[in-house]
């Protein structure tokens, strides 16, 4: 007890003990407090924003919403559907055989079949209409209305229908006067009326047919201008083939290049690691497209193809594997009885690591690091008796740490079935024409092979086909520009440079990674017209 009191008294003296604080102590404390206050203020700091920022964001959102499918907003998919339906309706009505090519007025009188041309002159059959000077008309490549039935060889339905209609019309009895002896004064007066009447539409032509209508004027009696509408149907002419034979099958093969990066809101570092591991590789696609001309210059392509998207996966990771082997060995000395209240004395010693490099036949290197710990436990019992125990136990623990280097190299392949829907514009004349095109490609996921980095263990890789939830259906934008060279009458070679990019995320919504594949490519092929 005495001993305890003394010790307590000794430390009681420390109660009022003061030590001089470091000179910079308060400065350091206040600095920390100050920065903490700054941080707290900054964390809740608000700054008024300008309205124009919302306008910019709203514009970006509108554009984003337009490019992504949603049931509730008008977007590119709806637009494409509308365009497609409109095109089909247009093709349906314009291609109807029951629809007359030309709706003639009763004014049709003269027909000129000449070689590969059919000329139609239109003159009012009103009795007040001045007679036609056949000679004058002949000068302008028009024939007499009494000319025999047309015999022009016509192959296309359009030509046949046109000529039949004209023949039928000519065979109907006409009340038109044949007297050509009208006095010149009267001619002039009445011809003015004629000119007015002719301004009315004499027939209605579809936009496709309008491309072939040429309106010109010619003079009758040297004073009056008549309007002459020529329906020109030329055979074996490239332009005609483009329209009347405006269908083709395009057989193509394309090589694509480019690298697409992953992104992730939830785990950007995983996206970065994957991006470092994945490198662009050449992808391919091939298939057959059906092309139809919507007008002289505009065409629509659709078809079916296979798109094999490729990426190279090359990833190197270093993993620590700790293999702990404990090899105890035990040495006992004499055991004594009457043991009570023992205590342990532990002495631990570190032994420096031993690093061994192991070269493998496949070129990889593993490092084997070995640490030794020796634990020397001494159990001692000291009692005021003659009996004592001294037990010396020695454990030798060996920690064997292996650094494993992994090299993963795979060729990732993602296969899609693709159905394009592409509108194009054609320009240029002759054998060489130029095209620009744009549209969408519907992609249906078929399979994926390859590797990606594991989401849970950055040292491991996973099978993308099993672990990455690919969207079953994607849409890509397509933009292209190319050339077409006519090899034969119905065979062309074409080449097109293009860019395509996913409009949507290639993976399902809840997946941690996002990616839109984007590629540049060159497409070449043969176009067979029919």
């Amino acid at each position: 007890m005495t001993e305890k009191s003394n010790i307590d008294n000794l430390f009681e003296n420390l109660k009022d003990f003061k030590a001089k604080s470091p000179s910079s102590g308060w400065a350091n404390v206040s600095e920390k407090v100050f920065f903490n206050n700054i941080a707290a203020n900054l964390r809740r700091l608000t700054v008024k924003t300008g309205d124009y920022l919302w306008d910019n964001i709203a514009k970006k959102l509108l554009w984003h919403n337009f490019l992504h499918f949603s049931y509730s907003t008008f977007n590119i998919y709806y637009l494409t559907a509308v365009l497609l339906v409109s095109s089909l309706l247009f093709l349906n009505f314009s291609g109807n055989n029951n629809t007359p090519l030309l709706q003639y007025s009763d004014n049709l009188m003269a027909i000129q079949p000449k070689a590969n041309q059919v000329s139609i002159s239109v003159i009012s059959n009103d009795e007040t209409t001045p007679p036609i000077d056949n000679n004058a008309i002949t000068k302008n490549n028009l024939n007499s209305p009494n000319k025999s039935k047309l015999t022009t060889s016509s192959n296309t339905k359009a030509e046949k229908h046109l000529l039949e209609t004209i023949d039928n019309h000519r065979n109907t009895p006409s009340t038109q006067p044949t007297n050509t002896q009208t006095p010149p004064v009267a001619k002039k007066k009445k011809s003015l009326k004629l000119q007015t009447e002719i301004k009315q539409p004499l027939f209605k032509a579809t936009p496709k047919e309008k491309d072939f209508l040429v309106v010109d004027t010619f003079k009758v009696f040297d004073t009056i201008h008549y309007y002459d509408t020529l329906a020109v149907i030329q055979k074996n002419n490239l332009k005609i083939n483009d329209i009347d034979k405006g269908y083709s099958f395009n057989f193509y093969f394309a090589s694509l290049f480019g690298k697409s990066n992953f992104s992730s809101i939830e785990n950007p570092s995983l996206a970065d690691t994957n991006n470092k591991a994945i490198h662009g590789a050449m992808s391919i696609s091939g298939g057959i497209d059906f092309e139809m001309a919507l007008s002289k210059k505009i065409f629509l392509q659709t078809g079916i193809g296979l798109f094999k998207l490729s990426e190279d996966f090359s990833y190197k990771s270093t993993k620590l594997v700790v293999d702990t082997n404990v090899t105890p060995y035990y040495t006992s000395n004499t055991f004594y009885m009457y043991m009570d209240k023992p205590y342990h004395k532990t002495d631990t010693r570190n032994i420096n690591p031993v690093v061994t490099y192991i070269h493998h036949s496949d070129g990889s290197i593993t490092t084997d690091t070995t640490w030794y710990y020796k634990i020397d436990s001494v159990e001692v019992i000291l009692k005021d008796s003659v009996l004592y125990t001294d037990k010396d136990t020695t454990y030798e623990t060996v920690y064997d740490t292996i650094i494993q280097h992994y090299f993963y190299e795979y060729a990732n392949r993602y296969t899609y079935l693709q159905i394009p829907l592409i509108f194009g514009y054609k320009f240029g004349k002759g054998k060489l024409t130029y095209t620009v095109s744009g549209g969408i490609i519907n992609e249906f996921f078929l399979n994926a092979k390859g590797r990606g980095i594991s989401f849970t263990d950055a040292y491991e890789v996973v099978d993308v086909g099993k672990e990455f939830p690919f969207m079953k259906y994607n849409v890509s934008y397509y933009l292209g520009a190319g050339i077409e060279y006519k090899l034969e009458n119905n065979i062309s070679f074409f080449a097109e440079g293009f860019y395509r990019k996913n409009a949507n995320n290639a993976f399902k919504k809840n997946f941690v990674l996002r990616k839109r594949f984007a590629n540049y490519g060159i497409k070449t092929g043969i176009k067979v017209h029919f």
Binding site: W26, S30, R44, K60, L61, S72, I265
Partner: protein, 189 residues
């Protein structure tokens, strides 16, 4: 006033009305975050716009678990980091020598008062790497290990950047304080 949950659900259905409401609710707070990470107001506006577009793009992923403010803040933070990754190179390697001039004397900071605008302007003066690490550590409360992982740098680099950022800020704030005192003295005279 609609509840936050209703606004978020409206945004998830891509309704512009609710997007604007969400914007109004968080714009000022998020813009302040952008200003802290950006060097200029223009940069902050870029980050701000990109951040909100990302928020609306991915708001469908928000599952109403956890704080929405934390979620949106994280998106802005990642947007800011991505922005610097894209626009800056080697921003973690500012010359140490240049910092020597900024080493400040030990001063008791309780005497100094600064407005929030002054604090923001001083933070904006920080070199990019310092600013990023300081914001992440001091304001957002990240640990050095987390910062290192987030920015793909070494833990020690993060610590060094923070140390230098603090030295820089101290020096600038003391200088600012002196300027303010001189102005006050001039007015008294």
């Amino acid at each position: 006033m609609d509840s936050l949950e209703k606004i978020i659900k409206g945004c998830q259905q891509n309704k512009m009305k609710y997007q604007k409401m969400l914007y109004d609710k968080f714009a000022d707070l998020m813009f302040a975050i952008c200003l802290r990470y950006a060097k200029t107001k223009e940069e902050a506006e870029d980050i701000f716009q990109d951040g909100f577009v990302k928020v609306f793009k991915h708001i469908g992923n928000y599952s109403f678990t956890g704080s929405f403010e934390g979620w949106i803040r994280k998106i802005f933070l990642n947007t800011a980091i991505s922005h610097f990754r894209a626009n800056s190179k080697n921003y973690f390697h500012a010359e140490y020598e240049s910092m020597e001039n900024y080493l400040p004397p030990a001063v008791a900071f309780e005497e100094l008062k600064y407005t929030e605008e002054e604090l923001l302007s001083v933070i904006n003066e920080l070199p990019e790497g310092y600013r990023l690490v300081f914001n992440l550590y001091a304001v957002e409360g990240f640990k050095h290990k987390e910062i290192a992982k987030l920015l793909d740098i070494d833990v020690n680099t993060s610590k060094t950047q923070l140390f230098r950022a603090r030295q820089f800020l101290k020096a600038r704030l003391i200088a600012l304080s002196k300027q303010k005192r001189i102005k006050v003295d001039d007015r008294k005279k």
